[in-house]
Symmetry: C2
Subunit: 170 residues, 2 copies
Amino acid sequence: MWRRLLYCLQMPVQMRMQLFLLQAEAVANSMTISAAAQEAGVGVETIRYYERRGLIRQPPSKGGYRQYPESTIRQLRFIRESQRLGFSLTEIEELLALAGAEDTTCGDVCSATEHKLAEVRGRIATLQRLEHELEAMLCAKDCAAPKRDCKLLEALSPPKERADCSHGCH
Amino acid sequence: MWRRLLYCLQMPVQMRMQLFLLQAEAVANSMTISAAAQEAGVGVETIRYYERRGLIRQPPSKGGYRQYPESTIRQLRFIRESQRLGFSLTEIEELLALAGAEDTTCGDVCSATEHKLAEVRGRIATLQRLEHELEAMLCAKDCAAPKRDCKLLEALSPPKERADCSHGCH
DNA sequence: ATAGGGTCCGTACCGTGGTACGGAGTCAAG
DNA sequence: CTTGACTCCGTACCACGGTACGGACCCTAT
């Protein structure tokens, strides 16, 4: 905060006047890359990476230094949130394109979300099948036995040789 | 199967005699890399990759050509099966080490499996949280609306600005 | 004026599980 | 002996989401 204030005081008078007329939020309007990274909770290199990938548009630069507007920070948060929801950067690119296009309806975004939901449900189902198989393997255990008789190693073998686990365990 | 038969028929007479005297299982006893790959359901390059990684030990070679014994094919199937259960190659390496060590008890394998089970359950829980969030987002939809009013794009924004979805949907 | 810290850019590298390529060698049949 | 299929080996490359490095440049405080 101090730094930014001092920075303002060193600006040419014209610019200082402009800034003086803007609100507090607008003061924060232009951040360096590290401030933006801090603000959005990502790494500096990550922002540069996103820019290279075209996920965020390159900001105006002052003396070769990127100056990020608040809107970019919002976009970075959007990206993080979408990632957390399981969207890949490529999918987020598409979401951002949707958000940017003139003729996008809410339905477009909606169907992308439904698609992702279906995918998530599929992954859950797969993992649950896996869960049951692992449980079934464990139920046949005899942990004190030497590995020679290990039912688990057997269970990993192909179906033909697989130990049968049907004595009501669960 | 046909391939193996034809392959046998193309062998030198000496070798064919030998094979004639062996049982079906033993016929498969020594395979080229492509036969092994076929048999185990993996690619040729994959086998070489596993060998480089030390997942399978290098087989005896005849004139510079790898000759795979049946045991290696079993091991390859073990690897595939374990992968299907969600074990990474590194974890499979450990499983194989357990299987190979003299003093391994069934309990060792057991605890590895339990560990994996816990991991799988964690992943399921995460995905289910995600599922609910996506559902919550969809329940606020108005698909005909222009994107300007899109609740979904809003929903992806950080918490402060997030639309509230509390009108009994589910 | 200068020291320090931040930023620039291009490029290389990480892990994961392979896949692809290319030139040389080998094998068995015709 | 030639042909064609197969195999050898090392190396490079793919996706994914970044992270690290190094030399040059710039900004700010003292």
